[in-house]
């Protein structure tokens, strides 16, 4: 007798069930073949023929392996006998998991779409949350308010606070619990190992109380120490205490040498002292009530409970303007300006984050709509199953619960994948943040974030789960059980729903694409900065006022440093300036020859003032458009004061004449010292490529009467970073107490200044691409499904003479009506929402017709492609086969 088991095993080798199950199947099939063989023998068939006849069905059924493995999946567990919510849920979850395994492509699509949507949401939301929602790490942080002065007449939104005003504000206000003022100077810290540069803060002694901080060790500044000529004392920051003194509690009374002056350590700040930002130590501000230092202080106030910022603003304005009568007439121009702390430091990022949040929410919405369409289509193919369940007594609620569990599980898996992806994305975003971001912002995932993700996940589950579930449970039992109606068709209402879903999906994707198109079309990177970006290194060496107390000492120091730098091989040019491009602003008020007379306290708008050494313009690559640049013959102030001005300055003051040969003077200088303009420079984008251009005046640093610190700029022939080592050596050889710091190439600086614009253009691009892909998948899915539903109808059309071409056109037309409707809606939404983007755009109109045109073309093109595949399938139908499917 043939070895039946071997025969079966050979033919079903590809079955791959688990061991015992497989051998049971082989046993059973072998037994069947044997029975058949014996029966044939009994009927008189020869053994050879009997064997051939018995085996024949195995050979002629190529899909047997597939059919068997599909049918042989583990049996679904029986539902629990007694109703029990928890075990019902567990049962539903087991069924749902099995369902997901059985439809891997479907599950993967749903989970993938959700994960994409949620990842974007999670990342952007937690950025937004950390920036704007999480409480700041201060006690009663909502009551903190930033103090400053504003002077619209000087074209300055924030001027800084004058020391003279500080005293009146602090003593005469009635709306604050406390006020503190500070400045953020740097110090050279020496005599403690190699010299290093530390960021410090000069603060009034109220700062500890205002912030509600308790010292780890020691005491606060005394009132006397916080007065001019008070004793030099310092509060050590927590991390400096750890790094310099390893947390030694005997540190009080020891000395810290800052800018070559000894400061006595009187206390240690707690770890929570994260304001003023980046300060590693505090020294007393010691303000003067009759100072002429101008406006340079920052302030922070804590409002009394129940006081609004507006009331406080009115209160301080009253105090400020009252000083006019006491002889401080400049207060006619300046006014206090109060801003909630978070707004002041992060206001720039609010619009960006909000717009991105909207974009991400739209992508999530599209993903949900898509999933809803998928579920709806799937629900129709499951109508039979639902009908059987209903027939065997499942209640409608039970079925809805089962379907909801399935979608809930999909949402859960999608949510988890999305949160994990989102954390990666958050890490990427944080690494892109600029270094001006306050350090006290803490980008951690917190409970609000987790809650937000849960809500998003649950909402999408409901959105795409409940609706199709209700539709499916409404399926007619007898109808769907009907043999000839095994493939349930959609009702008119269901088709309508699907169409609405597809149209809205296209519309949303279209609106997003317009936004990202506008962002991508910005002309920022095409802007000519007006200075050299490549192969330029900039660094600082901060001269301390103590050792370099005379202007000549500073001049000599920088001349020496620059000469040695120029001698380094590969250095093409080197120079110094107080504020090179992208390094901030130092403002002054100037008057120009020929200006109309002004009233005593009226000042012209603020002008950027830069002190420069010879060689600076060559190093930074700025262009002289008229006259000459400074050279070594210009001498000192006593000789012949000279200046250069920017095109903007020249245009403002001498619109019709050449600036060269004209004279300028400081606004406050009544003695009539005038600088002769010897050259005009092309405007530079000093505040960034997307920043404004302010008029600028450039003066030779050797004609400046006071000591000053410069930034050194060097133009190299190749990689500028190779200069860092030699520069450090040169500096150490000139003055071993001076650290080299703030070292950056100009291209790094430029990148950093554009990070936000670049980051959100990029993010937007990614989001809208995802949206387009999702929408295309949606169109494709729905049209394919519609074609499969219309197979019979198409067959009849072709049988009565329709050509494939006509069928193709017919299917395409139906699909493109949806695409057209979606495009029109998307256009309307985009036009309406364009105003929101206005603030973020640079050099492009929010209604740019080119962008809109391109996006319409792209969406219609993608829609056409998504329609073409099912349409071609319909056109190539064999009418005979098509009719037989019924």
């Amino acid at each position: 007798m043939p070895d039946w088991k071997r025969i079966v095993r050979e033919r079903l080798a590809a079955l791959k069930l688990d061991g015992s199950q497989e051998s049971e199947v082989f046993d059973e099939l072998a037994q069947h073949l044997e029975d058949r063989y014996e029966e044939l023998l009994e009927a008189g068939v020869s053994p050879a023929d009997a064997e051939r006849l018995a085996i024949e069905p195995l050979n002629t059924s190529p899909s047997l392996v597939e059919a068997l493995s599909r049918a042989r999946h583990p049996r679904e567990p029986e539902p629990p006998a007694r109703p029990n919510h928890l075990s019902n849920l567990l049962y539903d979850m087991r069924i749902a998991l099995r369902g997901m395994q059985r439809k891997p492509a479907f599950s993967f699509m749903v989970v993938g779409m959700l994960a994409l949507g949620i990842a974007g949401n999670a990342a952007i939301f937690s950025t937004f949350n950390s920036l704007f929602l999480k409480p700041l790490p201060f006690r009663d942080s909502a009551r903190f308010i930033d103090l400053d002065e504003t002077a619209p007449q000087w074209n300055l939104h924030y001027t800084g606070i004058a020391e003279n005003d500080l005293f009146a504000w602090r003593e005469q206000n009635t709306t604050f619990d406390g006020m503190a003022f500070f400045d953020n100077p740097d110090f050279n810290l020496s005599r403690m190992g190699p010299p290093r540069h530390v960021q410090g803060a000069k603060v009034t002694r109220d700062m500890l109380d205002v912030l509600g901080l308790k010292l780890v060790l020691g005491r606060n500044f005394t009132p006397d120490e916080d007065k001019p000529k008070g004793e030099k004392v310092v509060l050590l920051g927590y991390s400096l205490w750890q790094t310099l003194f390893s947390g030694d509690r005997g540190v009080l009374g020891r000395t810290l040498v800052l800018d070559n002056e000894p400061y006595k350590i009187v206390g240690v700040l707690p770890r929570e002292a994260v304001f003023p930002d980046r300060a590693e130590l505090w020294v007393p501000l010691a303000p003067k009530s009759d100072s002429d230092n101008g406006w340079y202080l920052s302030g922070i106030g804590r409002l009394k409970p129940g006081v609004t910022p507006l009331q406080a603003q009115a209160d301080l304005t009253r105090v400020h303007k009252a000083m006019i009568g006491a002889g401080r007439s400049v207060n006619k121009i300046t006014s206090p300006i109060l801003t909630p702390l978070r707004e002041r430091y992060l206001g720039d990022f609010r619009t960006t984050s909000q717009v991105l949040l909207v974009a991400v929410a739209v992508v999530l919405l599209i993903a949900c709509v898509n999933i809803a369409a998928l579920m709806l289509v799937r629900a129709s193919s499951r109508a039979h199953e639902v009908a059987v369940r209903t027939a065997i007594g499942a209640s409608r609620g039970r079925i809805v619960r089962q379907l909801l569990t399935e979608t809930g599980m999909l949402a859960l898996v999608g949510g988890i994948a999305g949160v994990m992806l989102g954390r990666l994305a958050l890490r990427a975003i944080v690494s892109l943040l600029p270094d001006t971001m306050p350090r006290w912002i803490d980008f951690q995932l917190d409970f609000r974030f987790a809650a937000f993700c849960m809500v998003v996940t649950a909402a999408s589950a409901l959105l795409f789960g409940l609706f199709p579930a209700l539709q499916a449970s409404r399926a007619e039992v007898s109808g769907t059980l009907h043999v000839s109606a095994r493939r349930a068709t959609f009702s008119r209402a269901q088709k309508g729903t699907l169409n609405v879903l597809v149209v809205s999906e296209i519309g949303l994707a279209m609106a997003l694409l317009v936004a990202s198109g506008l962002l991508a079309f910005q002309k920022v990177t095409h802007v000519d900065p007006g200075f050299r970006v490549d192969n330029v290194l900039a660094f600082e060496a901060d001269l301390d006022e103590h050792k370099y107390s005379k202007a000549e000492q500073c001049v000599a120091f920088y001349q020496n440093l620059l000469d040695q730098l120029r001698a380094v091989p590969g250095v093409v040019a080197a120079g110094g300036a107080t504020t090179p491009p992208l390094h901030g602003h130092w403002g002054q008020f100037f008057r120009a020859e020929g200006d109309p007379p002004r009233s005593p306290n009226e000042k012209s708008p603020v002008v950027l003032q830069v002190l420069v050494t010879p060689g600076y313009f060559d190093a930074i690559g700025m262009t002289v458009v008229a006259g000459r640049q400074f050279d070594d013959h210009d001498g000192t102030l006593k000789d012949h004061p000279v200046a250069m001005v920017s095109e903007a300055f020249a245009r403002q003051h001498w619109p019709r004449a050449s600036a060269v040969g004209k004279h300028i003077s400081y606004d406050y200088d009544n003695k009539g010292k005038w600088w002769e303009v010897v050259g005009v420079l092309r405007d530079e984008k000093h505040y960034g490529l997307d920043g404004e251009v302010r008029p600028a005046v450039y003066l030779p640093e050797r004609q400046w009467p006071y000591p000053r610190t410069l930034m050194v700029v060097a133009h190299t022939a190749s990689n500028p970073e190779a200069l860092i080592g030699p520069a450090r050596k040169i500096l150490a050889s000139i003055d071993p107490d001076l650290p080299l710091y703030n070292v950056h190439t100009m291209s790094e600086r430029l990148d950093r200044s554009l990070w936000a614009r670049r980051a959100y253009s990029w993010l937007f691009g990614v989001f809208s691409l995802v949206a387009l892909v999702l929408a295309a998948a949606g169109i494709y899915g729905v049209i394919s499904y519609a074609v499969s539903q219309r197979t019979h109808e198409i067959g009849i059309r072709m049988a009565v003479g329709a050509t494939p071409r006509e069928v193709l056109a017919n299917v395409l037309r139906r699909g493109m009506v949806l695409v057209g409707a979606g495009t029109a809606i998307g256009l309307a939404v985009a036009l309406a929402a364009a105003g929101l983007l206005q603030k973020l755009l640079f050099g492009v109109s929010p209604r740019d017709p080119l962008v809109y045109g391109a996006v319409v073309l792209a969406v219609v093109g993608v829609g056409l492609l998504a329609n073409a595949i099912p349409a071609r399938r319909a056109a190539s139908l064999d009418p005979v086969k098509a009719l037989r499917t019924e």
Binding site: V25, H32, L33, D35, T60, H73
Partner: protein, 114 residues
């Protein structure tokens, strides 16, 4: 267009009903089920090893029938299938569906059985 009976779809749709009916009263093994379908339909319906077992396993995986290995004295081990409580409900529903279908066909076509 000619219609051949039993049409493939028709057979597929009815197969579940046939198997469920055959194991309704007593447990049967696979070969027995295939013989019974052939003999009771007088040769009109035939199931071979390749068409029967995927169907039987599918019914078993849905929990409508349950298989069990049985060893009887003097015989080899065979797998017997019996209907489950759930299977009975499905069978009742399918019978009802068929009755309605047959009735509908009878009303239109004037034949006694489809």
């Amino acid at each position: 267009m000619s219609i051949r009976l039993p049409d493939r779809e028709l057979k597929k749709g009815s197969a579940e009903l046939l198997v469920l009916s055959l194991v309704e009263d007593r447990a049967r093994h696979g070969y027995e089920i295939s013989k019974l379908i052939e003999s009771r339909s007088e040769g009109m319906l035939k199931f071979n090893v390749a068409s029967l077992y995927p169907l039987v396993y599918r019914l078993e995986s849905r929990g409508w029938i349950q298989g069990k290995w049985v060893e009887k004295a003097g015989q080899r081990r065979r797998r017997y299938y019996r209907i489950t409580a759930q299977g009975r409900k499905v069978l009742a529903a399918q019978r009802q569906g068929w009755k309605q279908f047959a009735e509908a066909v009878r009303r239109i076509a004037g034949v006694d059985y489809a």
